[in-house]
């Protein structure tokens, strides 16, 4: 049983009232909130710490309720059972091994009854790839994952995760759900050239493609398709239309958004493994929207249970790319009588079917969640 309150004003008092109302009834509250509300730890910490309900959620540039996109206000979802919520703080400062050890410390409370894992991570933190890997290394595919990266379009890392400890930054928070779920993941970006072997990379930085400086190869391809030649100055504007696609055995490649040119290296959102193969992708409006709908369909068709709510995690860069047409994508996904809640995120977390868990970029993730 769910209950959704959409608080449209973004006012602190209204938020507090909504939370109070839900926590009187529900032992867990999931919160999706807009960055424009300007909530600070000083305002929220006391409220969250004193809350009788278990809390998790994030602050995002925009939130989605049914077929509407909102830049202000919050969605508060009361969940009828008490979720087991895990928190790992300071991920930017921790090594992959430290994060892995901390996650391993949490698997004690995990059992076959857990069907779904709700994951929120500070989308502007370092070590996101390592954190998602740690989740998979420990939990594997014994459940479905769905979630995304929180944060602000100002790209300033600030507290953006709702927890019972307060509004936190630089953390990973996840909860075990016994509810059944099905997940669909699609992006719609198509390969224009590739594959190229990643012959040198470090974390999120692609240094060489096919043994040549990465930017040299990238520019060679992009300049053939872009209206203007790509260079240091216009890099972000041009590159947002030409992401990388990491090859996998699944239907779709995993998108990696290059956001920064560092010398001849390309810095992406999310790790790119050395030895992997990447294509250079391009998208258009129709294919992107069709992909979002396909994600919804895939999830819908896979489900073997009665769903109660639809969760739509969509990448903020898709909305920036689609502009006004983004409303069409929302409407394409909200194709049901069931309530839909969602957010525009900095990176999406999901397992693509019963396969590997990934941190996606520029991707639409749709989850149908049942009663449980």
């Amino acid at each position: 049983m769910f209950e959704i309150i959409y608080e449209p004003t973004g006012k602190l008092s209204a938020f507090d009232e909504s939370l109070q109302a839900l926590q009187r009834v529900y032992p867990t509250v999931v919160i999706l909130s807009c960055d424009d509300n300007g909530y600070t730890p000083q305002q929220l910490d006391k409220i969250l710490q004193q809350s009788s309900a278990k809390i998790l959620g994030g602050v995002f540039p925009s939130i989605i309720y049914n077929d509407q996109l909102f830049n202000q206000g919050s969605l508060l979802v009361g969940i009828h059972n008490e979720l087991d919520i895990q928190l790992i703080e300071g991920i930017s400062q921790k090594s992959a091994t430290e994060i892995d050890e901390e996650v391993e410390g949490h698997i004690e409370g995990f059992d076959d009854s857990v069907k779904t894992m709700l994951v929120f991570i500070d989308g502007l933190a370092k070590n996101i790839g390592e954190s998602i890997d740690a989740l998979f290394d420990n939990y594997g595919l014994s459940c479905n994952y769905i979630g995304g990266g929180s944060g602000s379009l100002s790209f300033i890392q600030k507290p953006s995760l709702f927890t019972n400890q307060g509004l936190l930054k630089d953390a990973l928070v996840y909860a075990y759900l016994t509810a059944n779920s099905s997940v669909g993941v699609r992006h719609g970006w198509k390969s224009i050239m590739g594959p190229f072997e990643v012959t040198s990379s470090r974390g999120t930085e692609i240094q060489e493609l096919d043994y040549r400086p990465a930017f040299e190869v990238y520019k060679e391809v992009v300049d053939q398709f872009s209206e203007q030649p790509i260079n240091q100055e216009n890099f972000f504007d041009v590159a947002k239309s030409f992401p990388f696609g990491v090859n996998t055995l699944t239907d779709e490649k995993i998108v990696r958004d290059p956001i920064l040119l560092d010398g001849s290296s390309l810095v992406c959102v999310g790790n790119v493994e050395e030895g992997s193969y990447v294509d250079i992708l391009q998208g258009n409006k129709d294919e992107l929207i069709a992909a979002a709908k396909a994600a919804r369909d895939a999830s819908y068709n896979n489900k073997t249970f009665e769903d109660e709510i639809v969760l739509f995690i969509d990448c903020i860069s898709r909305s920036l790319f689609l502009g006004d047409d983004f409303q069409e994508e929302v409407e394409a996904v909200h194709n049901s009588k069931k309530p839909l809640i969602g957010a525009l995120t900095f990176g999406e977390v999901a397992n693509n079917g019963k396969e590997y868990l990934e941190f996606f970029n520029k991707t639409a993730v749709v989850g149908h969640i049942g009663h449980g």
């Binding site: 391993e104 698997i107 290394d137 420990n138 594997g140 014994s142 090859n247 996998t248 055995l249 019963k354």
Partner: protein
């Protein structure tokens, strides 16, 4: 599945295997890519050891807890028998499980939850697994190799042995870690090379090292060599190398070798050999004969150079011989008997005198014989050390004679050797100096030095002795008991036949009695026998000295002529003995009243002359004269009688009244007569202006005495403010004298007189008490004054009762110390170390200490740091100049910085206008006092000022 995608996936899996020698890391990477690229939900690796399968790796980790998976794995392992396909497949509850053989290591199990793997994938996986097996083996081998290498390196490091290999055909050199360590080359930065090694070899050893290797290469024989390494910082290491070469078909294939750091061993060897050399040098340099005989046949096995010289033979003629072969039978028997007894007893034997025949005649020796045993305690050697005492014996005999002669002389006699060390003294010496012969033996006569003669005196004395052989004269020496005495001393040097001085002989007589008589005569020539005061002769001398001194110090000198009024009457009435007693008493009182450096002289009958040196003004002489009139006016006891006398004094000042002793005395005498004419019991200056100025001083002094009783003093208060906030902080208490006739007397006129006369102590106490009472009143009625600042003079600081007085002033006013601030001027406080103790005691009462007139004196920062002060008060002379005068501005800024750096507060005094205030504020001085705010005003005016604000 898309075939090209499958190819890519398998390729990625394949290249991810075996990328690391770290087993855990390698498996982690391999499994991660297996799961992600094949879409598996689990992977596990079982290690088979001793017939048991042990799950040693699982991904995701949650599998280990998942009984469903573990059960399936167990089922698979039970089947184990791998089919031709290279794997076993099992479908349980919709999940597909695959078991692959990892040869001797164990098994890999993969789980796929959605659908079965395609046969082509499984086929490829079986092949890929072979690579995985190899990779696992490589990791394990690598680990074992690393372990054994680490052990080898540890052993090499402990033994400081490094190893090397030279692949001759590939021209490649390899060094072990310890080799790098020995060569002090960073393995991370430099590769092993023959050139690198040769660069390190000491340039003088390079050819030898190269030759050794080349020779070994040609001869096919291994080589061993020791050589040096020279490091950039000049250090040298010794290394020992062993090397050899392997040959195949007569062709050199590979050279191997070891290099060991033997620097420490070399150092030990070097030390041992050095010590041996040193010991030999010592033995050979000994002026004593040293010989060693073997214990069995008592043949000589060692002789030193002195021994050769004594016996007049080369040691080659001595070694291996016994005593019979070298000496007369009689001597030889004696020597051998002594040797045997020494060896038998095992104790050192001292033979005080033994004769021995030498080419230079018979010599007398003092010999020590020392038995030396071997490790089992058996006699091994006999060590002998002999001193030739022939000459000493002869000298002793000669001296014996001399000493008998001098024993009975009345004059003190001392005999020294050529080094002027005392060999002998006679009883008269002991009687005069107090030193016994034992105490003084071997010491130099300068032990008797009194310090009265300078270096040149002795220099001249010894010079004369050197040239003429004798000297005589008067010498002041010091007895054992410390008493200094004069003696008449004759010194003669004694020379041997070669003209070399062998001895010095001093003969002296004590002439202290004669000298004492002389001194008494000299005193009488310069002093008055009755009063012991300097007489006219010495007085003249002193005046001249004072005038000379004045030239240097630019001060003044006062000559005071004193005459006791009506002394003749007393003398006549009571008789001369009483008159003498009176004069003696006057002499004592005068001396007591004056400073040590002043001179009092009795020039005739009842006339005295006083010389005061180093005066700043003529007024000071007046103050002293007044004091003398006071002390002589006190009644004087003359036996059963008591008389009162008066005195008249005439004062002449140099340089104003003259610069010659005679003229000054004459002028003082003239002034004396004027004083007598004026009615006695008074003093007069020779110059009339001085008398009038002195009159004012006296007038003030008298007035001051009465002013306290007559309540003529008042305390004025000047506010101190915080410029930024305009708030009153405290007040400075300033004394004012409201004279009934003169009106308000400026402090500049009476404070110096009060200081000079000592009145300042009473005056200071009065101000302090008044101020404390006023402060208490302000506290009680809520007037916002935070503290009262009171000035403390140098005289007060010296006063032993100061602390008690301050305590009592606070107690009487019921005022806490924190409301009181005491201001001390910089010049005073810097002068005396002892003031800091007084200030500390004041501080302990809670009182704050402020340094007044800061900047005018020369402060020592070190001292300032150790003084318990709270505040610096910038002198008003600097404030006057700011902001226009650059110097004043800079000094003011410096004082502010100083105060800040020492955490002291700072206040400016004499602030008169807004420009000054603005300047101070900008520079960080926020507290001020001055006419800009208020002049010093009576308490009522101050309170009115405060109310207006």
């Amino acid at each position: 599945m898309d075939k090209s995608a499958l190819q890519l996936a398998l390729y990625e899996i394949s290249i991810s295997i075996g990328n690391s020698f770290d087993l855990d890391k390698m498996l982690n990477e391999a499994v991660k890519v297996l799961l992600s690229r094949l879409g598996c939900s689990g992977a596990a690796i079982y290690q088979r050891s001793g017939g048991v399968d042990k799950l040693c790796y699982a991904k995701p980790k949650v599998i280990i807890k998942n009984e469903r998976y573990l059960q399936a794995y167990r089922q698979l392992l039970e089947k184990r028998q791998i089919q031709k396909t290279g794997h076993i497949e099992l479908l349980i509850d919709g999940d597909y499980y695959y078991l692959f053989d990892l040869k001797n290591y164990g098994h890999l199990v993969l789980t796929k939850s959605t659908h079965a793997m395609q046969p082509i994938t499984l086929h490829a996986l079986a092949k890929i697994n072979l690579k995985l097996v190899t990779a696992i083996r490589a990791c394990l081998d690598h680990e074992a190799l690393k372990f054994s290498q680490a052990k080898l390196e540890q052993t090499q490091s402990l033994a400081k042995i490094g190893s090397w290999e030279f692949d001759i055909q590939a021209d490649k050199i390899w060094w072990s870690e310890e080799t790098f360590n020995i060569f002090e080359i960073d393995a991370n930065q430099f590769e092993a090379s023959y050139e690198g090694f040769m660069d390190l070899v000491h340039p003088e050893d390079r050819d030898m090292v190269n030759d050794a290797y080349q020779k070994s290469l040609c001869s096919t024989e291994p080589y061993q060599i020791e050589h040096r390494l020279l490091f950039e910082d000049g250090r040298i290491k010794y290394v020992q190398e062993y090397g050899g070469t392997e040959y195949r078909d007569g062709q050199a294939i590979r050279s191997i070798g070891s290099v060991q750091d033997i620097t420490e061993r070399k150092a030990v060897e070097h030390t041992v050999s050095q010590r041996e050399n040193e010991l030999n040098t010592i033995i050979e340099s000994l002026p004593l004969t040293l010989f060693v005989k073997e214990a069995k046949e008592l043949r000589f096995v060692r002789f030193n150079a002195a021994g050769e010289k004594l016996l007049g033979r080369d040691r080659s003629e001595l070694l291996g011989k016994n005593d019979y072969e070298l000496f007369s039978k009689e001597h030889a028997e004696s020597f051998i008997q002594q040797d045997r007894e020494t060896l038998a007893t095992g104790e050192i034997r001292s033979i005080l005198e033994e004769e021995i025949d030498t080419p230079n005649g018979t010599k007398l020796l003092h010999t020590l014989k020392v038995p030396i045993n071997d490790e089992s305690g058996q006699p091994k050697y006999l060590l002998g050390i002999s001193e030739d005492i022939t000459e000493r014996k002869e000298r002793q005999a000669s001296l014996q004679l001399s000493s008998t002669v001098i024993e009975n002389l009345a004059e003190g006699i001392m005999i020294c050797d050529a080094d002027n060390r005392l060999l002998s003294v006679n009883p008269a010496f002991t009687r005069i100096t107090g030193y016994t012969a034992d105490e003084i033996f071997g010491r130099k006569p300068n032990i008797l030095k009194s310090g009265r003669h300078d270096q040149s005196f002795y220099h001249e004395m010894w010079n004369t002795i050197e040239i003429t052989g004798t000297w005589q004269g008067e010498v002041w020496n010091r007895r054992y008991n410390g008493e200094i005495y004069p003696e008449w001393l004759s010194i003669s040097s004694i020379r041997n036949e070669f003209g070399e001085v062998t001895n010095y002989i001093g003969v002296f007589s004590d002439i202290s009695t004669i000298k004492e008589n002389e001194a008494e005569l000299r005193f009488l020539a310069h002093h008055d026998p009755l009063t012991q005061l300097p007489n006219r002769v010495l007085l003249n001398d002193r005046i001249e000295h004072a005038l000379l001194q004045k030239e240097r110090s630019k001060g003044m000198v006062a000559i005071m002529y004193l005459d006791l009024d009506r002394f003749k009457t007393i003398n006549d009435s009571f008789g001369h003995p009483y008159g003498d007693l009176l004069l003696q008493t006057v002499a004592i009182r005068l001396q007591d009243a004056l400073r040590h450096e002043d001179t009092v002289s009795r020039v005739s009958g009842d006339e005295f002359v006083i010389v005061l040196e180093d005066l700043k003004s003529a007024d000071e002489a007046g103050v002293v004269a007044q004091k003398i009139l006071g002390v002589l006016a006190e009644p004087i006891a003359l036996g059963e009688h008591e008389v009162t006398i008066t005195t008249s004094i005439g004062i002449a000042m140099a340089p104003t009244d003259g610069d010659e002793p005679v003229l000054l005395l004459k002028n003082a005498d003239a002034a004396l007569y004027r004083a007598k004419d004026m009615g006695r019991n008074s003093f007069e200056y020779f110059s009339s202006e001085m008398s009038s100025s002195s009159f004012e001083t006296l007038f003030m002094l008298n007035g001051l005495n009465k002013a306290i009783e007559n309540s003529e003093f008042v305390v004025y208060y000047q506010p101190q403010v915080h410029m930024d906030k305009g708030r009153l902080t405290g007040v400075e208490a300033l004394i004012r004298w409201l004279h009934p006739d003169l009106g308000l007397v400026p402090p500049g006129r009476f404070i110096p007189i009060a200081e000079e006369s000592g009145m300042i102590v009473r005056l200071g106490e009065w101000v302090l008490r008044e101020s404390c009472k006023q402060m208490k009143a302000w506290l009680d009625n809520g007037t916002p004054v935070e503290y009262v600042a009171v000035n403390l003079s140098a005289r007060q600081l010296l006063d032993k009762n100061l602390i008690d007085m301050v305590k009592s002033a606070l107690a009487d006013a019921e005022l806490a110390g924190k409301y009181l601030e005491l201001e001390v001027t910089e010049t005073i406080v810097m002068k005396e170390e002892s003031y800091s103790e007084v200030l500390n005691e004041l501080k302990a009462l809670g009182i704050r200490i402020s340094i007044d007139d800061f900047g005018t004196g020369y402060s020592s920062l070190v001292r300032l740091k150790h003084l318990p002060i709270d505040k610096l008060k910038i002198d008003m002379s600097f404030i006057k100049g700011v902001p226009d005068n650059e110097d004043d501005s800079n000094i003011t800024q410096t004082i502010i910085n100083l105060a800040n750096s020492m955490n002291l507060s700072v206040i400016a005094e004499g602030v008169e206008n807004e420009q000054q205030a603005g300047f101070l504020q900008n520079r960080g001085c926020l507290h001020a006092q001055g006419y800009l705010y208020s002049p010093p005003v009576p308490v009522t005016d101050f309170e009115a000022w405060l109310n207006r604000r």
